[in-house]
Symmetry: C2
Subunit: 414 residues, 2 copies
């Protein structure tokens, strides 16, 4: 059932699809639901002859982890430099929050300024490998630009679907890459349904629908980088924003894979963050449910996390519980405050959906659910420019002066 695949630097890998529900295995192909039970599929790898230095010796992008990514022929890789983002020791923010070992994984520094470049890079590469003639996505805003940028690099037409109330700058950005931008007068879940129909009716690879098993593999590179940046050590605790829940699951999968390869030891608590106006996974966690009750109308301004029907919700719940983590939500105000705090202590300008992990950490510390001596990595997933309408005029304080020397007294003499 396995396809023998790429030989790169003399290494061999085999990939196949496995049903997360019934464990049936399939050859790698354009398939996203198990034909037997309709369960979600995920990619499994058989790799050999690989060491940490294999990865370390390669160029700095997500593609240094080629053997753990589901592309068979390296010539199909679409690489615009995604990944390779800084892991910043956040001593100033840590002091502010009262925690000793805090890191920020600054994924605002991806080519289109969000972590979505990781999965988009893999999905568009796979679309090329499957010889698809067009790609697209359902997006809350960030995936749109990530898909469009990689599609244009691959020379493929791109169709992106977003809710019409998405932030203005996200719309502006995606149009620059030359994509066909479709704004849907509805929620993200409406958008997602249209995208599902699109790949059933038209010959298009929707990166987070029919390419989804491949797509999510890209996200796990965030964890591979964190571990490598810590000197091949698993962090004690990672806090991740949750929309569909896929990112959290992917990070955990990545960690397990390199653990199985003997590259890292130890376990990591995985915790998830959502905004109160759309927190179906957190609600299920707190109620002790192992399934998620959809939120019909998200009411948060944290648009990038406004997915009422999270596709990977149940898996995220399971992962969080098994790892000893927690799920927590915060108000929009707390997310905005965290974004401001992150900029003012660490010089990192993030959108509220990215900084929400900092807000959740603050709450967990206050509630005693994270110990002040615990080592925590907060994943910050999108840049502040993407959501500038949430920055209040009060925060944009400036002083206007005429170009005269005596005016300097009004600046420095206070």
């Amino acid at each position: 059932m396995a396809t023998e695949v790429a030989r790169w630097s003399g290494l061999i890998k085999r990939i196949r699809l496995v049903c997360r529900n019934c464990s049936e295995e399939y050859e790698s192909r354009l398939l996203y639901a198990c034909p037997k039970c309709l369960g979600a599929l995920e990619v499994k790898y058989e790799v050999s002859g690989m060491s940490k230095s294999t990865f370390e010796s390669r160029k700095r992008s997500i593609w240094r982890y080629f053997e753990l990514l589901p592309i068979e022929d390296p010539s199909n890789v679409v690489d615009i430099g995604s990944g390779n983002t800084p892991l910043v020791k956040a001593d100033r923010l840590g002091e502010e929050l009262g925690i000793r070992e805090l890191y920020i994984k600054n994924d605002t520094l991806n080519p289109t300024f969000s972590f979505k470049d990781r999965p988009a890079s893999v999905a568009v590469s796979k679309a090329k490998e499957f010889r698809l003639v067009a790609v697209g996505c359902a997006s809350t805003g960030n995936l749109a630009s990530a898909t469009a940028a990689h599609a244009t690099k691959a020379g493929l037409p791109c169709y992106v679907f977003m809710p019409s109330d998405v932030e203005r700058n996200k719309i502006l950005q995606v149009t620059q890459y030359g994509a066909e931008v479709v704004l849907v007068n509805g929620t993200y879940d409406d958008v997602n349904r249209l995208a599902h129909v699109s790949c059933d009716l038209y010959d298009v690879g929707i990166v987070n629908v029919n390419l989804r098993p491949y797509y999510v593999e890209g996200s796990k590179t965030m964890m591979l980088e964190i571990v490598e940046q810590l000197g091949w050590r698993a962090p004690e605790h990672v806090i991740v924003p949750m929309a569909s829940g896929a990112l959290l699951c992917a990070l955990h999968k990545g960690l397990k894979e390199i653990e199985e390869l003997g590259m890292v030891k130890g376990s990591t608590r995985m915790s998830g963050a959502q905004p109160e106006g759309c927190s179906p996974i957190v609600d299920a966690f707190k109620k002790g449910l192992d399934y998620v009750i959809p939120v019909e109308r998200p009411t948060t301004l944290v648009k990038s996390l406004a997915i009422g029907m999270p596709g990977d919700g149940a898996f995220a719940l399971k992962t969080v519980r098994q790892s000893g983590g927690v799920c927590e939500s915060v108000s929009d105000g707390e997310a905005l405050y965290a974004a401001s705090l992150l900029a003012k202590t660490e010089g990192i300008f993030a959108e509220p959906g990215g900084a929400i992990t900092v807000a959740v950490l603050k709450k967990l510390l206050e509630d005693g659910k994270v110990d002040r001596s615990e080592e925590v990595v907060c994943c910050v997933t999108g840049a502040g420019f993407k959501a500038t309408e949430h920055i209040s005029q009060q925060d944009v304080r400036t002083k206007l002066i005429s170009p005269k020397i005596e005016m300097l007294n009004t600046i420095f003499a206070r």
Copy 2:
């Protein structure tokens, strides 16, 4: 005259200041003009015991080149992950322009989304080393955020001076880091004069005035990275945006330094790009002058390059000529077109001041001043989000639909 400095990994370096005009040498201290002749000072290094692998083994930021940066005590380093940006092989854009070997150094992926994080990181570190109590800068917009972000990480108050007509998003961004933002009702040259007076009258380190010799050292890391990313090989031709001209000079200085260390061979043509509405260096180049005639009122919308009185203009001219490069200017329309082309071919969203190198390359190819078989690196220095007012409504084309399946025909059936 030399100060013995940092021992890091058992290596030794000595740094001193040398007058670019009369060659007099000084100990490293807070000095930016030669006390004898008022010439500009630059940092010279004496290093030993270093190899390529010394650099390669270190973490990924500009600080991997510690021995070639003017900080004595590593504990003074203020690092938020600046540098380590992708060098993208730009085959799609290259095909469009008709050139075989084209690379984009994508410096939009710095912590505050412009290359200015490189010099700001070094200057704020040096301010810490000099025990200064506050920092600031004169800025056309990008340096403001870079200085503010590094200052807040260092725990230092920050005063930034910008012309009041700078792009709105640049103002918004810098306020987020908690800096004191002073908008000056005048040109950049007015702003620069105020900044000069500030460090004479007040106890503040203005990164591009009294810290300037140290500041410019940060910029050269862009060239060190390009060379390392090419496998320790000097590129044939690099095109750089010019405002003060300092970036171009710094890249050339970096190349010479690693050449002297025997890490790289061969020469690189250095070319400079300016907008027609403010092109004093280009004008001097074309007239065969070895000095620059200031532009009193810049009339370009490429604000980040609107410096009428370029401090390093004469040095940039000399560097370009000695290296066999050229200086060229383009219209605002050509710069905007290049930004659009870069997004639509390579998925890189740059501001016009960053994409101007692509516009100049296009012109040089058309004029036969660059050969189509020449290897060229275009430095792209700032992100598109920084200057969104230049994106015309015509370029933000979207389609609004209701969430109904039959609407898909209007999308895909064209």
